[in-house]
Structure formats: C-alpha cells, structure tokens
Amino acid sequence: MTTTLTDTEEIRLVADAMRRRVLLHTIASNGGYLCQTCSSAEALATLYLRIMHLGPSAGPLIPPRFEGVPRPGRPPGAGAAYNGVDEPGNDRFILSCTHYSLGLYALLIETGRLDERALEHYNEDGSTVEQIGAEHSPGIEVTTGSLAQGLSQGLGMAMGKRRRGHSGRVWVFMSDGELEEGETWEAFNMAAHQRLDNLSVYLDANGNQCDGPVTTVSTVEPIAERVRAFGWRVTEVDGHDPDALAAPALEARDGRPTLVVCRTSPWHGIPSLNSRKNQHYVRFRPGEEEVALAELGLSSSGVAR
C-alpha cells in the first residue's frame, strides 16, 4: 500500500532534509551559513514546490567547472538552467541574498535538480558551487550578492515580461537586512508606480544580519507597514508554515506587486543555535554539534536515528 504525501507534508519533509544536509555540511566543512537555511527552508521549498512555475532543470546534475565570466561571445551564466529553460510561460527566480546559496543548493538536491555530490565541490577552487553564488552557480539566475540589486533586476525582468506579454512571473527572495540598502526603497517605489503585479517578493525576516540582530544594527521595522505605504500588497506570515506561505501567492493579482514578510527563526529546527552570538555564520565548538545533530534526529555520525 502506498501513501501519498500532501503538498504541505512534502514541503515540510524537504525543508527538514535541507536543514539536515546543511547541518552535516557545516560540520564537515567546519563552518557554514546554517542559520539562513534554518530560517528560510520552508519558504524556499514552498516557492519551488508549490508556488513558482518552473520548467524541469536543464542543468547537469553535477555542475560544470567554472569556465569564465561573461564577456563578448560568452553569454551570462548557466545557473538559471537549474530552474528550467527560460520560456515565456515559465517563472524566474532571483535569490537576492546569495549568502543563502548553500540552502538553495540543498533544496535543488532535495528536488532532484542537483546531485548530492555537487556539494562536494562547494567552496572548492575552480568550482561553480560557490559559497556566495553568482549566475554560474546552480539555481542562481542573476548576480545579486551586492544586496538590493536583485530586487531592481527582478523589476526590470518583470517589466520585460509584461511588455512581451509573457505569463511567467518573477519571484525575488530577499532578507530583512537588505532593507537597509536605499536601492531597495527606490525599487519598491518604482514597482508600485509601474503597477508590476507580476513581481513578488518573499522576504526572510529572520531578524539577523552580519553584525547581529537587525534591531541592534539599524531599524527596518515595521516592514509590512512601511512597504504597504509604498503601494505594495503586503502579507505577514509564519515563515515556517507552508500553507500560510503559499496563500498570498494564490491571490488574484490586483495591479500591486506583492511582498510576503516571512516571520522566521534562524534556529528553527535546531533550537540550540539560539544561544550563539554569531548566527550569520556558524562554526561549532566541540560538543555543540552532537546537540544540533540530535535536535534534527541524527546520530553523532550523521545517520538518521
């Protein structure tokens, strides 16, 4: 007898698998962007599994070696192929906060778009599976690591798609710290002015940035009220609840671009991370990793209990 998973159950399983994979990788590599995966796993998985209209991956399961930067005769990178061929009806996905790349790679693996051995090349010289991915990296469609530029590029792509009459939409995934960049607000302003309702943003409000809690660095709250005042349709959701995450994307478009503020925890699934001072980049001290592994139901050798 077979059982069929609901969408929601599948998203939860994928998100848990992302956390386990990134935790094991962080332990094996003596450091990693683990908290970003803990906060964003359900949102990214919901986008890939339930919201976005992506074609099947057109990228090789084992990513190619780095073959050079874009230049005349060499078009921009091949990372987009992992999200499917660029066709009028397909959506495009922009990961603006590319510190989240490791989590995205894990998601691509869990969804069959990437071989699990791809992570063996993570942060390896000459590899495209870069720590802070660029557009040659799997799933990274445009080069966005300079924060806020992803949203503006997505705005341009959304405008392009509307002009062409394409049904494909543009989804941007960004973080709360990025709201400190002035360009973000330029883009919010223009998107509303141009009534680009084929542009949607999922924002991982995990409350953390490089220097520590966002509240101690520079105030960006209240995010929803601020962006709503710019003319966007804004919804605030529990960023670990797949159904809540999917709901705003299912609403009929009304001329306003959409922002979904995903309220998340950077230690979701691994509560022991809560006590860490640095949640931007996690490097375990002796004894800590066993606790984290146990919290995700893994033995100290990384095997599921």
């Binding site: 005349p72 557009e135 503006s152 405008m159 002009r163 002035g182 330029e186």
Partner: protein
C-alpha cells in the same frame, strides 16, 4: 632647432571644417530617427528628460519611454533586468549620475553579465555651469575600469548623430559621453568604433584630443602648422578599447612627443590610455597630458572653464613650445565664446 618641412605635414582624412555649422539638439532628433524601427529599444530617464534631449522620444514613442524617477541605482539594475529579457535599454542622465552614484549597480548588474545596456552620459567634463556636482570629470576613468564596458565620446554633432549606430554591433555595455544643445558640426563622416579621426599628419608632435577639446585644438594646430611645426592631430572617440593602429602609428612616429588634451582629469582618461599605449609598446616617448590635474572645477561658462582648466588652444600651443623647446611667438588672443548651452543663460531645466 629644425622641424619638419611643411610638405611633410598635410591634412587628410576626416577633414574638419574651418567655420563649422552648428546643429541644434542633434541627439534629440537622431535618437527618434534611429529608434524608429527598433521596438526593443527602450528609453530610460531619471527626471532629466528635457535636459538629456529625450523629450522628443518620449512624445514620439510614449510606450517605449520609461520614467525611472531620481533613483539611479535602481535604474541601472532595472536596465540590467530589461536587457536580460532581450530589450536594449538606453539610459539617459548626466554623466555624474551614470558613473559616481550607481557605480556598483553598473558594475554588477550591467558590466559583469555583459548586458547590452547603453549608458548615455550628458554634460561630460566641464560642459555645464552647474558646477562640481554636475561636472563629470572622472566618468571615463570610472567606466573604463569596468570589465566588458566600452567607452565612447562625442566631439561634434556628427559623432552625436552616429554614436547609436556605433553601439549596435557592440556585444556588451557601452558608456557614451554625449554633447547636447548647440553642437558644432566638424566632420562629415560617421564615428567608427576604435578608429580615431586623423585630422592632420605630422612628424614633430602628435596631438590627441577628445570631446570639445578637438574643436579647441584645431585652432592651435592650424597656428602651429603656420609656424612650420609638423603636427599630427587625431580626434579620439573610442577611449576603450584603445587599439587603433592609426593612433599607434602616429604616436610611434613623432620626433618630440605626444600631447593629449581632454575634458576630464588627466588620470584615467585619454592621457592615461595614451601613456599605457606608449609603455605597452615600449615606445619611450615624452607625453604631456592636458586636462584637470587632480582637482575639481566649479560653476562657470564653458569658455571660462576651458581657460580655467587649461583646455585652451593657447595652452596647447604653449605646451608644444615647451615640448619642442622652441619659442614660436604664437598668441591666439581671446577666443570667442563657443556656441553651447553654457553660453546661454542657464535655466533650471538645463541643470
């Protein structure tokens, strides 16, 4: 001191006319005409629509005109996004606002992915009475430093009327220094990529000029030739790449040295690319760079500013005298005010 005879130095090629016609708003008219049958060409503007002469485009093709507001960082990355969808965004604002304010966006959202975005920078150098905030004295240096970026500069109305054609075959981003308002027409043949205009040939001194400095230098070169100095003069409209064999030949072939004159800092622009050419080819030639020397300018008329910055025909003559170590006794006298928008009373929009 012996200089080459007059018979050796002669004008040829892209002859510049002595009493040039003045063309009114050449960019405005040409852009509308050029874009007529190009539906993927989009005009982006950042609240300087009349000032960058794209009001005619806006009125002719309102559907292809996109007002981005005073938000240049977003505009640049937005243009990159449009280019990824197959459009050719032509971005219009003042040179300072193309280069300084949104530099990272130009480098990462346009330069890195080598996208076909055209950045039209108006008011290059000291072409504006608007003062230091509006004077793009470093734009060539900044744009030249971005890998994949091509850098072009207009020197007359014909350059302005042909620069968009030049961009058509460039597989990557282009920065253009554009002249506006009343622009002298010096040349009859269109601008060509990486090909300088050879205005005179000579073997004593090679003069390389860009932008409005070319018109100024023509007066100096004429006076120098009358005094028997053999001057080669080339008008440079492509600053990157800088691989025109005619420039290399002219630079390599002169006896005393090379003088560059640019409406820009002497660092990072024409003077710098020329020094790189000389060193890369091991030519060991003297080079005198005329331009702004590690300083800002301020507000004033074009004539005043060109004199203030040493961008005058007389200063070029003086530098040639020093280079060839021979007094020539040339006094050009006060030059008439050039026709340009800065000769007219400044109005709010022109700033």
């Amino acid at each position: 001191m012996k200089t080459s005879s007059d018979s050796e130095s002669r004008s040829k090629g892209d002859a510049a006319v002595a009493d040039p016609e003045v063309i009114i708003r050449p960019y405005a008219r040409h852009f509308v005409e050029w874009a007529k049958d190009k539906p993927d060409v989009l005009c982006l503007s950042a609240d300087l629509t009349g000032s960058c002469e794209v009001d005619d485009f806006r009125d002719a093709y309102p559907d292809r005109f996109i007002s981005c507001g005073m938000a240049e960082q977003n505009m640049m990355a937005f243009a990159g996004g449009l280019a990824r969808e197959g459009f050719i965004p032509i971005v219009h604002t003042f040179g300072v606002f193309v280069t300084r304010r949104p530099y990272d966006q130009v480098a990462m959202s346009i330069g890195y992915p080598n996208l076909k975005v055209r950045l039209m920078g108006f008011l290059p150098g000291v072409m504006t009475p608007g003062g230091v905030t509006h004077q793009a004295i470093d734009d060539v240096a900044l744009m030249r430093s971005i890998p994949n970026m091509t850098v072009l500069a207009c020197g007359d109305a014909t350059d302005v009327e042909s620069i968009l054609e030049v961009t058509e075959d460039i597989d990557g981003p282009v920065y253009c220094r554009v002249l506006r308002g009343e622009v002298q027409k010096l040349f009859d043949t269109p601008m060509r990529l990486d090909r300088a205009r050879l205005l005179s040939e000579g073997t004593d001194v090679c003069v390389l000029t860009e932008g409005v400095c070319t018109s100024e230098a023509l007066h100096a070169v004429a006076a120098l030739r009358e005094k028997g100095v053999s001057v080669s003069h080339l008008h440079v409209s492509t600053l990157k790449p800088f691989t025109d064999p005619a420039i290399l030949e002219a630079v390599a072939g002169v006896r005393f040295g090379i003088i560059t004159m640019e409406n820009h800092l002497v660092s990072g622009g024409l003077g710098t690319v020329t020094s790189e050419l000389i060193t890369d080819h091991g030519l060991g030639k003297r080079l005198v760079r005329i331009g702004l020397r590690d300083t800002y300018a301020h507000g004033g008329s074009l004539r005043y500013l060109m004199d203030y910055c040493g961008l005058s025909a007389q200063n070029l003559v003086d530098e040639v005298e020093r280079l060839i170590e021979r007094p020539l006794g040339i006094k050009l006298g006060p030059r008439p005010v050039e026709k340009s928008e800065s000769a007219a009373p400044a109005n709010a929009e022109s700033l």
